[in-house]
């Protein structure tokens, strides 16, 4: 466990150089929300940028030949993978908190209505998107390297679009959506529980796949 935590710490040390980028991304999310007069857009874009922020760790490591560092450290490949996903989860959690704070503050400043249901539903859907996007992109970066696979960064968006298309065409998804909305309106406390649970499941499945890929890969 100690080695895994050290691996996560190593990622945070490596990711420190992207703090300035984080600041600009958050500023951009605020500007988008202000222009569209909708705090939920700031919340959504904050979580979209969390994906970018957590992905740059691969770019930083590749630029610094960190594969060699990981090759010499007393660290199992699986521990490095778990450490990397812990890093992503912490980034996602921090951005989710920032997203929530920004949404709340902006709704007050702009005097825009942001009821608890919309707030939690937006935040949790954005967190699920984050987990889904990280869950797809991390194994791809590990398999093909960031430089080669960066083009696939938008893949999660396409996958979601296709999924929605298939669900609306092949199932009575839209009509059932009303029922789902009613359920969560009546049980709002379940929104964050479901959101976090789905996000964690997505990340855990992705971590298992990433581990299979990385342990077979020569570094």
């Amino acid at each position: 466990m100690n080695r895994t935590i050290n691996a996560t710490k190593l990622d945070f040390y490596a990711g420190k150089s992207t703090l300035r980028l984080t600041f600009f991304l958050l500023l951009f999310a605020v500007v988008i929300g202000a222009l569209s007069k909708g705090p939920i857009y700031t919340m959504i874009f904050t979580m979209v940028f969390a994906v970018t922020s957590s992905g740059t760790i691969f770019s930083t490591h590749e630029k610094s030949h960190s594969d060699k560092l990981y090759g010499i450290l007393p660290l199992k490949k699986s521990e490095m993978i778990i450490g990397r996903y812990l890093y992503a989860l912490i980034i996602g959690a921090v951005y989710a908190v920032i997203s929530g704070i920004l949404g709340f503050v902006m709704s007050r400043i702009m005097n825009a209505s942001l009821d608890p249901f919309t707030f939690w539903a937006t935040l949790m859907l954005a967190f699920i998107y984050f987990s889904f996007a990280v869950g797809i992109s991390y194994p791809i970066y590990l398999k093909f390297s960031f430089a080669k696979a960066y083009i696939f960064t938008m893949l999660p968006m396409y996958v979601i679009a296709v999924l929605i298309l298939v669900l609306t065409k092949k199932t009575n998804f839209i009509s059932n959506l009303g029922q789902v909305m009613r359920f969560f309106t009546d049980n709002q406390v379940l929104i964050p529980i479901f959101g976090i649970l789905i996000g964690l499941i997505l990340l855990a499945v992705s971590a298992l796949i990433a581990n299979l890929i990385y342990t077979r890969k020569e570094i």
């Binding site: 080695r3 050290n6 040390y13 010499i72």
Partner: protein, 287 residues
Amino acid sequence: MSNALEVQNLHKTYSDFMLDAVSFSLPAGCIMGFVGQNGAGKTTTIRCILNMAVRDGGEIKIFGLDNVRDELAVKQELAVVFDEIFFVDTWRVREVEKAIRGFYSGWDSKLYGEYIKRFELPPGKQVKELSRGMKLKLMLAVAMSHGAELLILDEPTSGVDPVARDELLDILRGYIADGEKSVFFSTHITSDLERIADFITLIDHGRIFYTGTKDGLLEHFCIVKGSKTDLTDDIKKKIIGLSVTSAGFTGMLPASELKGLPNSIVTEQPDIDKILVYISKGGTTHE
């Protein structure tokens, strides 16, 4: 004398290259130079030793421990310096320690601080701002701060000026001074090895050409030069890296084959560089 590193019958096959039955051993407390031309298999061998590349066959033991089965324990005892720095380029010299120290049970912050001072590394400078020689020293400072018993260097002096190379040799001499630490030094700058190595392993096209003491290597071979008329079929068969011009021939022979050569053939002692050149032209295995 126990061995710090033992490689037995190592095989590794890629589509365009293979390591073929690579075997050698490095006694504890010694420096071994690992020499070969570019693409000979030096880095692949080191990658196998570090389990960065998965071996297809053979055995690698470090202080008696299997490098795969006991990987974590082995890597506590290993320090590695590569030809290019592998720390994040925006880290400052003092930050490198913070990122790395947690991984090593034997990390000594005081020692790291001493090396930083001794190597005159500015603690506030970012890795990317360091010169090639300073980057090498930073890797050495990290490598030598956790009590590692075996230091592996993979082409560390490529692109480093002669002054920094000379400093490196002094650092290595100091490192092995206690008689317990060992160094495995891969390079194609053989003049460094002539000054420091106790043992030499020569690799060519994925096969070990020679492994043994440095003095043994230099005594084992002789450069021969003569006129074309001296070049009999018998000599041709034995000669390594034969080169024939209108002026005559030149090549290398095992010292044991010198008996019975005509007096008109001139012999001279080779250096490691010349041996490397001749074996790259063609040769067989010698131990």
